[in-house]
Symmetry: C3
Subunit: 429 residues, 3 copies
């Protein structure tokens, strides 16, 4: 599939998933995961019951919603959940009554500085109800009584998440995590699951993999906490690198959020790939992050995760509003994000510590790896081979060597294969 086609396919999946009303629990999450399972049949769907204790947290009741609207004193349906699922505050309790405007105001959410945008608002852990509307509409509400109707349920149920485990030669794992809890929002967040889905398809299509890949699609915060509370010991023992995949579909510059100390192999790989593919990317310290990397890197968990994004949450005005829609993302934007992450994984796959089999530099021209005529200017390719062989001393992984040589790591893959083929080089586990 060519670049253009992959981008379009990812975008089409986003179009299909975008309208579903997701939250941290409920049928929207289930429906989303089932559609993704059409793409990746290895997806395993699990549930955790409401009330389950996960570290310091408790799985809340399951929330589902059928219908919701607001009727003004003139009898006009001025807000309708069926037109935009952002209109209802996430986890709104059911309500069906008529109240005066003054009382309604306490339940309305709007953005004065973005008067034509509907904000995305939730209240997962305290019972409330609310409507999210444009500030334009709010400014024009007339005095009088409003009929309020929210047909939702908050009942004991399940938190649902998806998991794909793709085995590799090693039991050591690369961990990918994305969110499935946002309603109709495009960059943050349907871009994450769709790009992740296509990364899973690409990984499954590889002839072989060095690492095992663990890919989770979870509701933000409570989902990752639930997952960690089940699996953190396994993850701590096995995960060698990982990425949070979020906000990865628009056309703006890439963003990179460091791991907690900025010193993991995931950081090194992300910086290397971005430096060579998108050098104008923006780098953020961990304290400016704010997704599930907080959970994955929390004290005692400490997984080596970074986040590679396009426009970062909080940093673009459309964030968490109805403006973050399918026009804000694009096939090219999604493909770009997919491609950067694919190169990160490719680099991880090839990032072994290498060791010369010979003492001293081998006689390269014997192997056809160096010209037999010495000319005035050494060709760059031959210089790369000699430089590579200077640093394959058992102390450096291939990423370090690429950094020392100042070249793309993937430009060394074929050379390493060639030198291994001639038994001049070997990997050390």
């Amino acid at each position: 599939m060519c670049e253009n086609d992959i981008g379009k396919s990812i975008y089409n999946l986003a179009v299909e998933l975008f309208p579903i009303c997701r939250s941290i629990t409920g049928n929207g999450v289930r429906e989303t995961l089932k559609i993704i399972r059409h793409e990746v049949s290895d997806l395993n769907i699990s549930e955790v019951a409401s009330g389950t204790r996960c570290f310091d947290w408790t799985i809340p009741p399951e929330w589902n919603i059928k219908e919701a609207y607001l009727i003004n004193p003139d009898g006009e349906k001025i807000v309708d959940f069926s037109k935009n699922n952002l209109h209802v505050m996430g986890y709104s309790e059911p309500v069906n009554k008529t109240i005066p405007l003054e009382e309604l105001q306490e339940h309305l959410y709007s953005l004065p500085d973005m008067p034509d945008a509907i904000p995305y608002v939730t209240s997962y852990y305290e019972r409330r109800w609310g409507f999210c509307i444009t500030h334009q509409l709010r400014e024009n509400l007339q005095k009088g009584n409003y009929k309020i109707y929210i047909d939702s349920t908050l009942e004991p149920g399940q938190l649902t998440y998806g998991e794909i485990v793709i085995p590799g030669k090693s039991k050591k794992e690369i961990f990918l995590s994305t969110y499935i809890c946002h309603p109709s929002l495009a960059n943050n967040e349907i871009s994450g699951p769709v790009v992740t889905t296509y990364l899973a398809k690409w990984l499954l299509g590889l002839r072989q993999r060095e690492y095992t890949y663990r890919i989770v699609l979870v509701p933000e915060t409570i989902g990752s906490i639930a997952y960690l509370s089940e699996k953190y010991e396994h993850l701590k023992n096995n995960v060698v690198a990982g990425f949070c995949i979020t906000s990865i579909g628009d056309d703006n510059a890439y963003s990179y959020v460091e791991s907690k100390y900025g010193d993991t192999v995931s950081d090194r790989i992300a910086r290397h790939v971005l430096n060579h593919i998108a050098p104008n990317y923006k780098s953020y310290p961990f304290v400016q992050g704010g997704g599930d990397e907080r959970q994955y890197c929390s004290p005692g968990i400490d997984l080596p995760l970074v986040t590679v994004m396009r426009s970062k949450h909080y940093e673009y005005p459309e964030y968490h509003t109805s403006k973050d829609d399918l026009d804000f993302i694009s096939p090219a934007g999604l493909y770009g994000g997919y491609n950067v992450l694919k190169y990160c994984l490719l680099c991880l796959e090839h990032n072994e510590v290498l060791q010369n089999t010979f003492l001293c530099q081998p006689h390269l021209s014997k192997y056809g790896l160096y010209p037999t005529v010495s000319i005035k200017r050494e060709k760059a390719d031959f210089r790369i081979i000699k430089n590579l062989l200077s640093y394959t001393d058992g102390n450096n992984d291939l990423l370090s060597i690429a950094e020392i040589l100042g070249i793309k790591m993937w430009d060394l893959f074929a050379i390493v294969d060639q030198l291994k083929g001639k038994e001049l080089l070997e990997g050390t586990s």
Copy 2:
């Protein structure tokens, strides 16, 4: 006491102490320490006898002086010790004779480039006598015979120093050292003892202290060496941080002299406090220092001391001249220095390594530490709590965390108390 009042009180003490003729030994030191003991009754005054060996040094004879003057050929008393005690070279031997101008010249000290200033000159370890005068006066000396009179004594006696030990919860000590050997000089050096006196008063007024504080008021060089020769093993075992307090009373930018390797907790604290309170401070490497930190950081002693000053010795023209008088320092200047050092000590008191009690991030909204409605923009305060809890993994002291978060360490004190109160966080000893 408000800021203004503290500054004035410190200045008033400086006014009282300024006129006394101090040297490395003698009654001036004793008188100075007795006045300070009126402020801090815990001050303990000790003496070391002349001739006592201290490492490679020997305590010199005690020097005292009653009167000294110079009478010109016309019979006019043109230099009088009673008018300015800088006029006599420190440790001048007694002399009473009449000599021609040519011979006198060899005993005169003046500053051609500061013609109206009297220089401060000493000769502690070689017997000499001398007068320090303005260069203006020197240029106008007429030919003829001058009567020289110095009524001083150089006799076996004592070197006198003061020590205040203020106990805390830990036997580990914070060490503060200041000089009491300068005659009528204001920034360098009566500012040091008076600011130190008020820091001692503040420390004594605290409800509790984490650390024990050891505060010494010593003659420069020989005093700190004498003190070290008695106590260095105890100090090496117990001192965790410390400050030389000198030149801390004028209104110019702050100066910071690194410890020998610039890597102690004292360095980190001093830089943090100055970066947040006085970011235009000047930083000097240890090799540009020149006070008692040389002794305290000498090979085999190696205490973790830095110096926080205002105008640094050698760096301002008034240094070691009669121009460094009570007009060169000010209540505001002294208060500023006191305040910076107080914040350094406050930060040290709070600088513990912190550890989450829970695995993973706690459910903050349960504790009222996070809003229950999720809105578009996270409030900075909540972000600080989440960021703090990411780094309280038992590897970081609070200072490191403040540096990572890019905020004032003291902005975290109340948050840490709150999280400890909710048993979400605990200190590790």
Copy 3:
């Protein structure tokens, strides 16, 4: 001998050695080493037989050449080895025939972008023959048959190298290596052997040496590999620092090529000396090197070598052409290189870890090392002594101390001697 005289003497030796036709084996190498042995009688000449296996390499047949020329269709001898030994490709096999221009072209080497320069070309490990000519000449070759004559031999013989071992107080060694395989080329490369010869003479003239010096004059690549295959275990155990000496005779800015990781004492010394003597030098990472440091620093060998040069190979147009002749180097250029390397060795000789004999700072004025009158401005010299004594704590070598003090290391030599003489300081082995 004054600076001017040394430069002239080095240059004169270059003039004597320049015309000899050297290669990686053969009589030119033997003749060169014999001339150098006239200067340094300690030079030991060794040989390794053709066919000897050295790591992954095999010593090639010995190559010698008596005569070679090219006669054009008009019977004119248009190329003559006796006029410039660059005209024949190094290791050309014998040939004696007449061939048409078209066939000849495949054996001609010229530089289109330097039309009046003869390139330097070799083919050590694949049998070939070739002529190197100016591009001007090549462009004017007429159609027709050319008589080709190369009277060379490629027969089992020897690879010849020289070695000078100059004993010192320690068995630990400083290693110097230079090349003797280039025909008539001046900066790269007769400058290397002649400067090295004069460094050997200087070392032999020293009253005593801390270190043993091992100086080798080897053919590039195969020579150093042959040497390493015999001696690498000894070298790994004993060599503490070293320099490749090459391209050290022209008048342009100095160049410095880092060791493999840029962190050896050789790196630190080279940077220190160049920073103080020639601060506009150019610094290159190891990957931009390309001489025998590749062999000496190859995995498993890992000797601590750097290269200090003037114009670096590849970086100047004259490199490996007939333009790199005796006009390209100069007595001043050679002397400069000699002097920088001499200072590097001097600094290594003095670079011991120092330790105070006293606890605390000594009473310097007792020893005449500090003035007895304290004046307003401390003299820089006294400050140096006090600063030096702050860092002689057994953790720093003298180079580190010079770097901390920001002064030339050699400005400390006399002070260290003085302090040792007064038993205030001692070296630690």
